[in-house]
Symmetry: C2
């Protein structure tokens, strides 16, 4: 089915659940009243539905083409759509006003990002990486670098990339070999090979700005000797226009299972001219700004592909006539009933809907905290920064894992049709699968959560989160109408707390306990966050109903939330039981026994 943006749900989340008008004193929100935001999202939906979505299947079929001169041709129609995107200003929605951006809050930019990623995940990666490169330069670049690159990146005239991986190093960046030799004039000669560089070469923009991790000659071994460089494809001349062609090249494209429309490049740097971004040997920290952006973006991408898969599955389930309802014909005049009458089909659609809506709320709530980091109220800002650290790995891993599951549900609803490439279900599943891997595998996210984020500042972030849930539950104790959500939330929070204490005790004792527990812990955390979102949503919907609002949307929201409690939340107990068994069984065998 043609992609249809979830505008009704965005309205509910931004107005009824998050009530963004409360934050008019936070930078960015002053010019972002709910009414204006709604208009922006309506226009954004038109763009995503009308311009981007029609390109998605073409991209899968055609893929990108590498030409012997090192250029890359994107699929038919993609370059033109990107041009329209830039001209309409969509690439700069959330970007800094001082460099030409529109300065909209992250929560608004992320809602728009969900629509473009659902319309075409492969397409949306081009502006997504550019946005990440701009954020990294904004955080760590010199004033000169910012002046030179940010306006072009923010406008979308130039593209941006992140170059981390090399054949011998993905997760373990300490193994990077790409080297940087000072030229004596403040620039460096960068040499090495980078692989899996998304959007590394394409025909969208007149210039591409590569952010490259490399090791300065004589730098310490490991991650402490890695620096970040900006290495433009064309070196900007005195007027800031693309000048000399730099000695870097796309040497080929990867053949991948999905996201065919995005160019995944082997990049070769041979004495390419680059300039240090931030301090020597502090490249990883500088790159982490971009990585964190990319991790949130990847979480959104996973959720969004699931959303697109769900929309397709609903359409198929309403159209396909096969069998009769167990409780008597529902389409007596037709040869059979639409398969949406079958409880097991309905189960898959309800599960998908409950996951998508819960994760969508979770994503926007997280984005709101990105905005609140800039609050003038130091307590609010500190809490927001704590939450961003804590939540980023959860958003990345939980949303992508669940997004893939929803995409798999979508294929299953299609039956045999879904396995043929005639329908989009195969593409959705293939596209979704990468989101569990790149920008740090979901296992790496889980380890980041239990090994780093949980303990930072003495566990302040997670304790604040528990206190927030306790306070919310206490505040709404008298609200009988939402009692199932209060109980579900309090229950899963208690399970998460038990798991957290278990980790504190046992992870210290033996770090393998933490590693062995990490993925189940992350899922338990994701379930807790979405249970909180469903409690907030149920409370808001119930309040609307009690105020006499007759829009059926609210009763539907409650029904979907009930499904979440009854059919998804029970997984929490299994995660808790598993993780508390520790590392013994996980590590019992010698490597040779596998």
């Amino acid at each position: 089915m043609a992609y249809k943006a979830p505008l009704r749900d965005f309205t509910f989340l931004l107005k009824d659940v998050l009530d963004i008008d409360r934050y008019s004193n936070v930078p960015g929100f002053a010019d972002a009243s709910f009414d204006l935001v709604q208009q922006i999202l309506e226009e954004g939906a038109k763009f995503a539905e009308g311009v981007i979505a029609p390109l998605d299947r073409v991209g899968d079929r055609e893929g990108c083409k590498w030409n012997p001169d090192g250029t890359v041709t994107t699929p038919t129609g993609w370059k033109d759509a990107y041009k329209q995107m830039v001209e309409a200003g969509w690439t700069s929605l959330g970007a800094e006003a001082e460099y030409g951006g529109q300065g909209m809050p992250a929560v608004v930019a992320m809602a728009f990002g969900q629509m473009t990623a659902a319309a075409s995940p492969a397409f949306s990666m081009y502006p997504g990486l550019t946005r990440g490169a701009a954020a990294a330069l904004h955080a760590s670049g010199s004033e000169e670098q910012k002046a030179m690159y940010l306006p072009k990146l923010i406008s979308g005239e130039w593209g941006g990339t992140m170059n981390l991986t090399e054949p011998q190093c993905g997760t373990d960046l300490g193994l990077i070999r790409t080297k940087a030799v000072p030229n004596g004039d403040g620039s460096y000669r960068i040499s090495g090979q980078k692989i899996w560089i998304s959007s590394g070469e394409h025909d969208f923009t007149e210039n591409i700005v590569h952010l490259v991790l490399a090791r300065i000659e004589g730098a310490p071994q490991g991650v402490k000797g890695i620096s970040l460089f900006v290495v433009p494809k064309f070196i900007p001349d005195a007027d800031g226009n693309p000048g000399e062609r730099n000695s870097l090249q796309c040497a080929g494209l990867e053949h991948k299972m999905g996201i065919h429309g995005n160019s995944t490049c082997v990049m070769v740097y041979e004495d390419a001219k680059g300039w240090l971004v931030g301090e020597e040997n502090a490249g990883l920290k500088a790159m982490f700004v971009m990585m964190n952006e990319a991790r949130l973006g990847t979480g959104i991408q996973g959720l969004s592909i699931g959303t697109a898969a769900y929309i397709d599955a609903v359409e198929f389930a309403k159209d396909r006539l096969q069998g009769r309802s167990l409780t008597g014909p529902k389409n007596a005049d037709g040869p059979a009933d639409p398969i949406i009458v079958h409880p097991d089909v309905r189960r898959m659609l309800m599960e998908s809907k409950a996951l998508i809506e819960g994760c969508r709320a979770f994503a926007l709530w997280t984005a709101l905290h990105a905005d609140l980091q800039d609050s003038e109220d130091e307590a609010v800002a500190t809490k927001a920064r704590d939450y961003m650290g804590l939540l980023t790995p959860i958003v990345k891993a939980y949303l992508t894992d669940r997004g893939f599951h929803v995409a798999s549900n979508g294929m299953q609803v299609h039956g045999g049709s879904g396995y043929t490439e005639h329908y989009a279900a195969s593409q959705r599943l293939r596209d979704a699968r990468i989101t569990l891997i790149y920008e740090g595998t979901n296992g790496v996210q889980a380890l980041d959560l239990v090994g780093r984020k949980l303990a930072s500042n003495g566990g302040r972030a997670v304790m604040t989160f528990f206190a927030e849930i306790d306070a919310w539950v206490a505040e709404h104790q008298g609200n009988e109408a939402i009692r199932p959500w209060l109980e579900g939330l309090a229950g899963v929070k208690a399970q998460l707390q038990e798991a957290t204490f278990w980790l504190m005790q046992n992870g210290m004792q033996n770090p393998d306990n933490a590693g062995a527990a990490s993925t189940d812990y992350l899922h338990l955390f994701g379930l807790t966050c979405t249970a909180y979102m469903w409690a907030l949503s149920a409370e808001a919907a119930q309040a609307r109903i009690e105020a006499g609002d007759s829009d059926p949307f609210y009763a539907q929201k409650l029904a979907t939330g009930r499904f979440f409690l009854e059919r998804i939340l029970p997984d929490a107990g299994a995660h808790l039981a598993k993780l508390k068994t520790g590392a013994a069984a996980v590590m019992a065998l010698e490597a040779d026994a596998f």
Copy 2:
């Protein structure tokens, strides 16, 4: 990695766990001593590893080619490998001796089938469907038909197919439109279009025997008016050789997500000559013999693809150096440790191993019951027939669902490498996905289980199963060394029993309750069966250890079984909690609300 057949595990399962030498009084086993079976499987492993496995990646890359004359060219090397397979007699391993088969027990044929399906799932479908067609003809064909077709199908000289699906009907076979008009000479003219016909056309054999469901003119509407026909590509002449070319044609191939090496055909019949198999209007029952074979085969296929994916993942995890163990370097002289040291990687491998070994035991135990159906002891035969009915949907759906999960684990272990088509991980995942869909989607299997199999003969099969587990647990109560497995098995059996009683009460009341519970119920059943298998395996391994056998295999088996108890079995509680919430939340929304 090159495929390596699990001969050591087969030996353990066939000798220590199932002890097949006990059954020498059952037809088929008389000539199948354990020692002979072991020799056969060793030879079979060589064939699967050496001849079939090398073809698998080629098949994915090249796919099958449809030619304008309606012929289909299989991938490079496939035709020759099939010829070798026929010449070595592998296609006839489990087939009836009276028609030239080797008459080996199903449990042996299924062990061999696991090896070929792991070596190449797409390749193994060609002989697999031929075997199914032979079984259906053996069960329902006339003596003349059997004499004409069975020797050629069993030898593998001719191929076989099953033609059910049409564009407007997949699951709902009552909607079949293909028609059959009597010619007056005992033959019929068959006309219609069939889709998704696996192995429908290829270059392996000189003839292809299509089994086709069609509606005889004037037959009743729905499933009660469907008959089965044998429609050969070339009509056998008086000498039984391929004669007149029949008017049927492969009109094209589907473009699919995976199993590219198998031809998935659109078949067009235009007044093709066919002969009734079995009774008029009793086609569905006759075809069910083939469907049940295919369902078991599909379960095996899902498990086998998972096995191949696991082997690849283990190799990658031992080779890939990235990061350091949380408990100190394990490869201090190298640049980093192999990723198999990381607990979350180990968790994925252990989960895969525990699922594969548990499901492998379950598959062989089921196949043994297929053999025991022919026991001269009527009680044994009845129980075996009951079990085959009950277990077939579970083997099909549980093994494919878990096989896909294992394939997804395999990709995750590979990280970014797994998403490129350079490694086999993508093919494994893509190939595995179909097994959840064809031969009746896993949702259809779940409905077959709760709606038909559970209640047949007053629930006799499931009650026998419960009694068998109770008796086994009681018998081994004193065996302290295997207490965790006894407790785990008794616990999950109690949960399954509770779910079964819930279904009996609530499914009657409202059939949607049964439909809404069906998938969770099937998974709970699958977990119970594999818990039983792990208990049997633990008992057998422990007995070996106590007898002084120092092969580390047995301690490894216990360690893997402990992982199953601690890290997989806890899902049972979540399935029970979910299914007992019934249909209310599942069916709460109107179709328009999705």
